[in-house]
């Protein structure tokens, strides 16, 4: 391809504070319309905003995790525009002194690790939600407004246009989500709108110094659509430029259904938001001690976990899978504290446990499974009380009911058989019933041995100690 692509991302993350950013109404998803409202978030006459300290802490923490500098003196601005879901017809946001500035986030690319610079991290309030009688604003007779979301704290994270491909964009977005989730500041659910993203895209001929004209892309509501929308828009722009045309600076809407981007409004219609300092709030003075204390509370993030897991002997693949899954990695860490075989634990968690979780569409903390149960199960295998096969068979029950594996195998009579005479009698029977296979084995067909092992295991309903079966069978045949 003769074109270079520059993508900048703007992410909006709803913060998981208990109350809204400028009033004490609860932040909650899915409550009946207009039940989580008060004079402040309804924009009633005379009502005044009061800044939520926790929201500021979440913003500072996130900015720090993204390697940003913190503005010690940060102010809020009013962004003025009229829209029925915006009760004051201005949004309290930040303008020229956001909480965090000049950070970066690292992503994994084909060419190795790459830094995507973060321009700013700022705090603002969310709008209400419009619900149109006809589903869409055009052609609807009536629109309803739900102000439950009004004034929910939003973190806006803006990157520099350092992203060079849709894959990188997806990686950036997914790393960003993981960081927000690990910090506990956002649940990262794009489908529920608690994390939203916009992108600006431009293309230029390879080697050209100047960035091309950018378009802004809105309405990308899932990880899947990010990649697809970007691919479409990049191809569209390359198509325009390669035919000698010019890209128009404009806002475009991702049409999910028809899988294309469509023009929303041009630059000449761009808003003049008439930003000015919010006179109802005092400047935010952020002291060094506050920053230090928040810094010390930042938990281990995916990148650090990844490095640590590799040192524990996991493969890069295993380390990455675990490091980016908050619940599973916490489970893993607690299990490693109790049972000193990280590789074994990772194997169980990433294969068998993950499969069971997928079947149930649950995360591990939503089940009855605990690190203690996991360890008890692994001990039973190590001690030869049960086989790995049996362990796998009882796993679903352990996940659903959280019972003691030891008690369960006792109750069910699943304890492994190590009684040599019992195993020998089973081998005897198998050899008698499979004389043909025995012949083949003796003629040198190695595979037949495994078949015979399987038959012995089947006869003992999986309870025979596989190692013993192997040894004894070899002897019997030899």
């Amino acid at each position: 391809m003769d074109y270079e692509v520059n993508i900048g991302m703007e992410i909006h993350a709803e913060l998981l504070t208990r109350s809204k950013v400028f009033c004490s109404c609860p932040v909650q998803f899915g409550a009946p319309p207009n039940t989580l409202v008060c004079p402040v978030c309804l924009g009633l006459p005379g009502a005044l905003p009061v800044l939520n300290k926790r929201a500021v802490e979440f913003a500072i923490t996130t900015a720090l995790a993204l390697n940003c500098g913190i503005n010690r003196h940060s102010i809020f601005h009013r962004k003025n525009y009229y829209y029925p879901d915006l009760p004051k017809n201005y949004q309290i946001s930040q303008y020229d002194s956001p909480i965090g500035i000049q950070g970066y986030l690292e992503i994994e690319t084909e060419g190795g690790r790459k830094r995507i610079r973060i321009r700013r991290v700022h705090l603002e309030e969310d709008t209400g939600k419009l619900i149109h009688s006809g589903g869409r604003i055009t052609g609807s007779d009536i629109s309803f407004v739900d102000f439950n979301r009004s004034s929910v704290p939003l973190l806006e994270i803006v990157s520099e246009p350092d992203i060079s491909s849709p894959e990188e964009a997806k990686e950036y977005l997914s790393n960003m989500r993981d960081i927000l989730v690990f910090l506990g500041v956002c649940d990262g659910k794009m489908e529920e709108g608690s994390m939203r993203c916009e992108a600006n895209i431009s293309v230029r001929r390879k080697g050209s110094e100047k960035l091309g004209t950018k378009t802004e892309l809105k309405n990308i509501n899932s990880f899947r659509s990010v990649e697809r929308a970007l691919i479409y828009e990049i191809n569209r722009q390359i198509d325009v430029v390669s035919r000698g045309g010019e890209v128009i600076q404009e806002t475009r809407h991702w049409d999910e259904k028809n899988e294309r981007t469509v023009s929303m409004r041009g630059k000449e219609e761009a808003h003049d938001y008439r930003y000015f300092p919010e006179p109802d709030l005092v400047p935010l003075e952020i002291k060094d001690e506050w920053i230090e204390s928040l810094k010390s509370q930042i938990p281990e993030l995916p990148d650090e976990k990844y490095e640590r897991y590799k040192k524990l002997g996991l493969t890069p693949y295993e380390a990455k899978l675990l490091a980016h899954d908050l619940e599973l990695s916490v489970f893993f860490d607690r299990t490693v504290d109790l049972y000193n075989n990280p590789k074994n634990i990772a194997n169980w968690l990433l294969v068998d446990v993950t499969k069971e979780l997928k079947d149930r569409n649950k995360v591990i903390t939503e089940t009855s499974f605990t690190p203690e149960i996991m360890v008890e199960l692994l001990d039973l295998i190590d001690q030869g009380v049960i086989s790995g096969r049996i362990a796998k068979d009882i796993l679903p029950e352990l996940i659903d009911r959280g019972v003691s594996p030891k008690k369960l195998v006792e109750e069910k009579g699943l304890i492994q058989i190590t009684d040599i005479s019992f195993i020998l009698s089973a081998i005897d029977q198998v050899l008698r019933e499979n004389a043909g296979v025995v012949e083949e084995y003796k003629k040198g067909k190695e595979k037949s041995f495994m078949f015979l092992v399987g038959q012995v295991m089947k006869l003992t309903r999986g309870r025979a100690n596989p190692k013993l079966v192997n040894e004894l069978l070899k002897k019997a045949l030899g």
């Binding site: 006459p45 005379g46 009061v50 029925p84 017809n89 008439r274 006179p279 005092v282």
Partner: protein, 478 residues
């Protein structure tokens, strides 16, 4: 025999505690006044019915016997709050302003909501969307504004005292025009929560009373920190103690720039007389120059309108108030604001929108902010040399209805004496200092931030040496 409605609150409280008067008689005296003169003065936009007012009297709560009137831009739960605007003509306050909560906690008897210039924008109360209020001293003349209804109500005895709000002189100028006392407190000492915002960084609620003692007393009930107002200062409320009025040795600065050409000769004569009274009481009066004060009016009209253009954006017909018809949401909002706002409000919204627009922000808004600081610095420097500063409250006498309404610029310039005080955030009081042809003239005394106690002392000293505060208007020769 003295009519109870002509007495001050502290006089009436004394009579009540000595059981020389029955609370019902006081309240009835005010009700009688309203019945006699309200049809001519038009101080109120909404009066509670006599029965409710009388039923609000509590035997053991003396303040329930002292009727108070509230400017109609403060929210009293369950009562209309129109701001004298068509756009809020049907709006019933769903919550209490913090000052109202404080009054209710002390059983104050709120008898009604007073007229004002629409959204407190004006100096004559002629900008009320409903009807103008008239000056009880001369019904042909304006009572000043924007708290004209509150000042007229106190002057004529409809209420014993009242609350007004002051953004550029809206308490002091009508107090001056109506021959009563009005205080604009230090910015941040009285909560703005529940005051419908005009210009957030300048607005302040304050008392309007018949004398200085009442002013101090009422101020003690409304001042104090409010967690619902982020600009409220975290300090203990003003504690009332009867002023002594000793002003011997006090250093008073006469602001040179506020005694210039625009000052009416009769007002100048009252100022000369006032200076003599101060000097006779042992104070030292010297002229002082505050060079940047002459830029106050343009500075104010940039900052106040900028904030107002944003503060008034919420009146859009979506959630409350007037809603005009329109085919789309945008058209509905457009029509609502077109029909709902009066000409002065529209003028200021347009001016404010203009000064915040891209390309003009630096030239107007930012420059005005710089001048605001210069003006505040002028005051700071002056207070290094003087205990208080004085000037006329208004350079002109109460003017006739219709005289200035067609020339907004002339009207704006008449606020030159009061505006600098709001820009600097300092407190100032207006007290009666003379009468010209039976029209009151007001003296403005300004102090450094948090010098309310001093202002009460100085003005009480002046009051003790004069009897202007004892004069009451007569209507229709009764």
């Amino acid at each position: 025999m003295t009519n109870l409605a002509d007495l001050t609150a502290h006089e009436l409280l004394g009579l009540i505690s000595r059981k020389e008067v029955s609370p019902v008689d006081i309240v009835n005296s005010c009700i009688n006044r309203i019945e006699m003169y309200e049809s001519q003065v038009k101080a109120f936009l909404n009066i509670r019915d006599a029965e409710t007012i009388i039923n609000s009297i509590r035997e053991d709560e003396p303040y329930s016997a002292i009727p108070i009137a509230i400017k109609d831009n403060m929210l009293v739960k369950g009562q209309p709050a129109t701001c004298a605007s068509k756009i809020l003509s049907n709006f019933i306050a769903p919550y209490n302003a913090t000052v109202i909560k404080k009054l209710i906690q002390n059983s104050f008897n709120i008898i009604g909501k007073t007229n004002l210039d629409e959204f407190a924008m004006g100096s004559s109360t002629e900008n009320s969307a409903f009807y103008p209020t008239r000056n009880p001293w001369d019904l042909e003349r304006v009572p000043g504004g924007s708290s004209g209804g509150s000042a007229a109500s106190v002057a004529i005895g409809f209420s014993i005292w009242s609350l007004g709000s002051d953004t550029g002189g809206s308490i002091r100028q009508p107090a001056s025009f109506c021959g009563v006392v009005g205080l604009k407190p230090t910015y941040g000492t009285v909560s703005r929560y529940g005051l419908v915002a005009f210009a957030s960084s300048l607005d302040q609620i304050g008392p309007i009373t018949k004398d200085v003692t009442d002013c101090a007393l009422l101020y003690s009930f409304i001042s104090g920190y409010d967690p619902n107002d982020s600009t409220s200062l975290n300090m203990p409320p003003y504690k009332f103690s009867p002023p002594k009025g000793d002003i011997k040795g006090l250093k008073i600065g006469l602001v040179k720039e506020l005694m210039g050409e625009g000052v009416d000769p009769s007002v100048r004569a009252c100022m000369d007389n006032s200076i003599k009274i101060f000097e006779d009481s042992g104070a030292i009066v010297e002229e002082v120059s505050l060079p940047h004060i002459e830029y106050s009016v343009p500075t104010y009209y940039i900052l106040a309108t900028a904030e107002a253009s944003s503060n008034l954006a919420r009146f859009d017909g979506v959630r409350y108030g007037l809603r005009a018809n329109g085919k789309t949401a945008e058209e509905m909002m457009f029509n609502t604001r077109g029909e709902g706002f009066g000409p002065e409000v529209k003028r200021r919204i347009m001016l404010g929108t203009y000064v915040l627009s891209a390309g003009y922000y630096e030239a107007f808004y930012l420059k005005a902010l710089k001048f605001r600081n210069l003006i505040a610095d002028d005051f700071k420097k002056a207070f290094e040399r003087f205990d208080v500063l004085i000037s006329p409250t208004s350079p002109i006498l109460p003017f006739k209805l219709g005289e200035k309404i067609s020339n907004p610029l002339e009207m704006y310039l008449s606020d030159i004496c009061t505006i600098p005080v709001n820009l600097a955030g300092i407190p100032a009081i207006s007290i009666p200092c003379g009468f010209i042809n039976n029209l009151p003239v007001g003296l403005q005394i300004m102090g450094p931030t948090f010098s309310e106690s001093k202002l009460f002392e100085v003005s009480y000293g002046f009051e003790q040496a004069t009897s202007f505060h004892k004069k009451r208007p007569q209507i229709g020769g009764s």
